[in-house]
Each structure stands twice: as C-alpha cells, then as structure tokens.
Symmetry: C2
C-alpha cells in the first residue's frame, strides 16, 4: 500500500488534469472530488478513476477544456449540454444552477446530457444539502455501462442507474441516500473479484443467465440483478424510471438508443424545505425520528441502526487529517500519467 | 365468492358514504377509487377498506364532510391541511393543485397532512400522467401503521412508507411505479395469512426479532423487513427519506412523533416533461427503451419482462365490463353498513 497526504494527492491529480488541458479551476475541482471519495473510503470513485478520464480525453471522448452550456431554461427548469467536458465540472455546474433556481422559485429541475463520468452522486446531493436544500438526483450511463438485467431477464440491458437524495440535518452530516438500483454497484463486484472471493448469492448471473457467485462470471458478460432479489421488480422499476428521467428527459442516451459514448445523463431536482417547514423544526423533528429509529432492539449488538449518510459523516470525521492508503497499482498509474506529461514524480 | 357489477358496487359504496355524511361528489369519488382498485385486482385497497373508513368516521377520527384547506402556497409549492377528511378526496385535491401549479410553473411540490387513508398511491400518479405530466409521490402513516423494522433493527419502527412515480407513455398505460419501501406491503402478508400459507423467507421477523415465515408471527407484533433483503440498507434509506419528505416536510406525523391518528401524510412532486422533451419524442424514445428491455433472454419463458405499470394497464383491459368477484365477508360488511344506515340491501 501507498500512504499519501490528501493535499499531495490532490496536487498530483490537479497537475495531471491541467496538463491534459483542463483549466486550473476545473482540474482542482475534479481532483478534490476524487480525493474526497478516497477520504470517505469510496475508493471505487477515487483517484483510481483518473486513468480512465485521461484515456477518454486521449481518445477524444472527453474534452477537458470544454464547458457546460444551458440549452434552454425557465425560472424553474434548465437543460444543460455538458459538451463532453469533465463530468464533475458539468454536474457541479448543473447542481449550482438547480440550487440557484430553487432559491428563487422554491423548486427546480435541471437535466444534463453529453457528460462524462460524474463520480459519486452523493457529492452533488451533499452540495445541495450544504445549501440548506433538499435534492433528488437520477443518473444513467447514456445507454453505456450496461451491466444490469431487467427483472425476469437474464442479460445486461440497463446501467446500474443510481439515485441520490439528501435532506439537511442538524447531525454530523446531511441525510443522504446514494444507491445503485441494481442489487449492488458494479464497483462492489470488482472488489470481490480483486480479492478473489465469491459474491453473495443473489447478486449476479453468468453470461448464460444462470445464478452465480463467481465475480469472474460477471466480468465475462454476466449481469447484475436488480435491487430486491426476489422482489427485484421494485429495483427494476426504479432503474426504469431513472432511464426515463435521466436519459429520455435530458435528451441524452438510453438503453436501446445510446449516446455517442458513456454519458452520466442526469436529472437534478431541488426543493427549498423552508417553504414547508422552518429549518429549526426540520432539524428538531428529523432528530426525533433518528433517535427513535436508533432506539431499536438490534439483530447484532455490534451493528447499530444508522441514519442514511451517517457512514459518510463518520468516515469524514475519522479520516480528517490522515494520510490516504492506496494500492500500489494506483500509485503506478499516477506515476505513469505524471511521466506522460513530463511532470515531477512523487518521492 | 360474490359477483357484482362495478356500477352496482360503486352505487352501494356511494350510498353508504353519503349516509355517513360525505357530499355526493366526495362519496362518488371515494367509491370510484375503491371499486377501481378491485377492478385492478388490488383488492387490499378495494371496497374491503370501506368498513375501516366508516368505523373511523364513527370514532370521530375521520370527518366525512370536512374538506382540505391550503395552509400556505407559492406559485410552485403548497401545504395542504386535509382536516381529517376522506383521504381520497384530500389526495385528489392536492394532486389537482400540484398539476395546476406544474402546468403554470413547470414544477411543483405539494405536501398534505391530517389526511386519512388515501388508498392506492398509483391512482394519483395515474392522475398526473393523465394530465401529461411526471410525478413522484411519497407517503407515510403519520407515525401510525408502524410495521417495518429499520435495517439492522428487529422491531417495528416505520410504516411501509410507499413511493409512486409516473411518466406518460404512448403505451396502453403510463409508466407507473407504486411500491412499499418494505420488502412487501402489509396487505400481502395478510393475504398469506388469510390463505394459511407461509410467507417467503426474508419478509418478516417475529415479535422476538427472529426471522419467520409464519404470517401469524407478523400479526402478533412481528415486523416487515426493508426492501432489499441482505441489501435492506437501501429499502431502509428510502423509507427514511419518505419520513422526512412526507412526514417532516408536510408538518405531519413521523415515527417517534405521531399525528393524532393514522394520517397518510404525503409529498407530491409534479414536473412538466415538455419543458425538456416534446411529448412525441418522450413517447417514441420510451417505447424504444421498453422494446429493448423486453427483447431480453428470459429466466422463465412464461414470465416476460414488463414495463412498470404494465400489470395495471393489462388488468384494466382484461377486466373492463366484467363483474367483480369479492369474498363473502366483504359482502356481509357492505350489508351490515347498508343496514346501519337503513339503506336498501343488495339482492
């Protein structure tokens, strides 16, 4: 493992992104998102992703110096064309736009298309909660990143189509839901594969459509099942709705009619809660709810009931100021990218 | 079993509701909702519910001649106080209000509190889709109807907190999601209990917190598990968000701080899709998506992939003009209510 300070890691990623053509502001923003995910322990969305971004830029699928453009807007809505710019830059722009509109109009909906990987959806939900607002975010893969079978089907037809939601809280972090509508995100299957251990039963099918617990079977063309296992019709219905909201309504790509390349087409809904309830009352009553749910007999005394978002809030507190530990191959990728751009290598 | 025409059944329910104090309009509306659910085969939300409504009115918990009132509003938002009126009347009023605001402002959010059982959530999602708009609806039990354990917990702490979503389609029915955030709705467990057969493993805990497949264990104080089974943290996070959106933001009741009595506190979000995509394009691209998902190798050739809402659309077509078959105890309840109000009995 490689131990590195978050600041140094962020500086390295920023330098690489700048060398690939991004502005100083955009490079810093993307680097901050990636390193923050590593701080939270969401390594699948951490600096390990930078290699893919630089490769996509090399192929011309991602344009690091492009910017987002508002295609049309009303006081409550906007459609954003990401111009195949860095996903985090486009999604941050669209989220800011939705926040601004909700502050004025009370509610807003912003869609985004032609946007590369936007990273951890929860980050944008946190951005909205940080502004004292409520969010619902729906994201597909623009008809790419197809890995999930529809309920009753045995072949890949959908992306893992995640949903995020957030509500401000008076606790250590906002109430935050951030979930794939498949039984698990593809990144989790990759972790099992890297460790060489079987995935839990009920997660994947092999390429012939048979239930499997071998992550290699997934990698060789198998499919993730929808959230819910035997009740997978619910996860599938959520995944289907995400295609409609994030793909069709953004004018982006969908399964069966894909975008030019992988695109995290999204819909961002923002609501001002103070048009409904004063913030002090929201915080007080949501704390009553949280305490009441935590005060429950447990299946396992070592596994307490958490509020959604508590794992992220805890990780942020626990890891503040600590070095990040990353596998050596991630360091090697960074070194390789630094060399490619003739940038100074880490010690 | 008792066979009865939908029209006659609706007339009987209307007469009972009028006799209990509802206006002709309101009585007809509630009767229509109840009978429509029986037509769809959603008998748990059919005329079997009328007995509870009349009993609640008798106890003074439901006020059949009350009406909903807008507590405060902006061009995009409103808070509705249901005044403990008939739930279907209040929810229809709130949905109409959300539709009207979304037509003008593009997006709207309406919350409702102090509202009795509103019935099948999908009905309001269908109402929005019928107006050519997109909906998301979140409903709790106002801190009552508690039947679901939080993830990792083994005691009832949450209602089954359903979510509905709809998008207009060019198909037989709208795209419609209508689901409990628990692994199954309580009504489904009741069906297993009535049949005297075990529930699927992974649905319920007994009152001591042990996994069970005996529906009697649920009836005697056990709990429903959250959607997702081993991935129940996802269903739980959805159920938690429903408490915040439907309960806290409506000013209604929540788990740990309940309303005066059972209240289907709700949040209704409506979006005008034509600010994002012309209806013809929405219909065309969503049909491409649907066809692509259906064109998938199946686990069981007799179980095709469906679009969300297809079962309801199929049931409506299949049962059009047919008599409804109801268990004899439902007929006996109706007769008893007709007698109570000195109304003519069925032949």
């Amino acid at each position: 493992m490689w131990k590195v300070s978050p600041t140094r890691l962020e500086d390295m990623c920023t330098a690489i992104l700048r060398a690939a053509g991004a502005s100083g502001h955009d490079a810093r923003l993307v680097a901050d998102h990636l390193v923050d995910n590593d701080i939270l322990g969401h390594h699948s969305h951490g600096v390990i992703r930078l290699w893919d971004y630089i490769e996509a830029a090399h192929r011309g699928e991602l344009i690091p110096d492009a910017g987002a453009r508002i295609v049309n807007e009303t006081p409550t809505t906007a459609q954003v064309d990401g111009g195949w710019a860095l996903g985090q830059v486009v999604a941050t722009f669209a989220t800011d736009l939705a926040i601004e509109k909700a502050r004025t109009a009370g509610v807003s909906v912003v869609t985004v298309r032609r946007v590369k990987h936007i990273g951890r959806l929860g980050r944008y939900a946190e951005q909205v909660a940080g502004a004292g607002l409520v969010s619902m975010i729906f994201t597909n893969g623009g008809g790419h990143g197809i890995n999930q079978a529809p309920f009753r089907g045995t072949e890949r037809r959908l992306c893992s189509n995640p949903i995020a939601m957030s509500v401000p809280s008076g606790l250590a972090g906002p109430f935050l839901l951030d979930m794939a509508t498949s039984v698990a995100a593809e990144g989790k299957v990759r972790v099992y594969r890297a460790r060489g251990v079987p995935t839990p039963p009920g997660w994947i099918l092999d390429s012939d459509g048979n239930p499997s617990t071998d992550p290699e079977d997934f990698a060789e063309g198998g499919a993730l099942l929808p959230l819910g296992r035997a009740e997978g019709h619910k996860g599938y219905a959520l995944a289907f709705m995400v295609e409609l909201l994030a793909g069709v309504m953004s004018g982006g790509g969908i399964s069966g009619d894909p975008a030019r390349s992988f695109s995290n087409d999204s819909m961002i809904v923002v609501i001002d809660p103070e048009l409904f309830v004063p913030m002090a009352e929201l915080e007080e009553r949501s704390s009553i709810l949280t305490e009441h749910l935590k005060d429950t007999r447990l299946a396992d005394e070592s596994q307490p009931v958490l509020y959604p978002g508590e794992p992220e809030a805890e990780a942020r507190l626990a890891n503040r100021g600590s070095d990040i530990e990353l596998p050596d191959p991630v360091r090697q990728q960074l070194v390789s990218m630094l060399r490619r751009f003739s940038l100074p290598e880490p010690d």
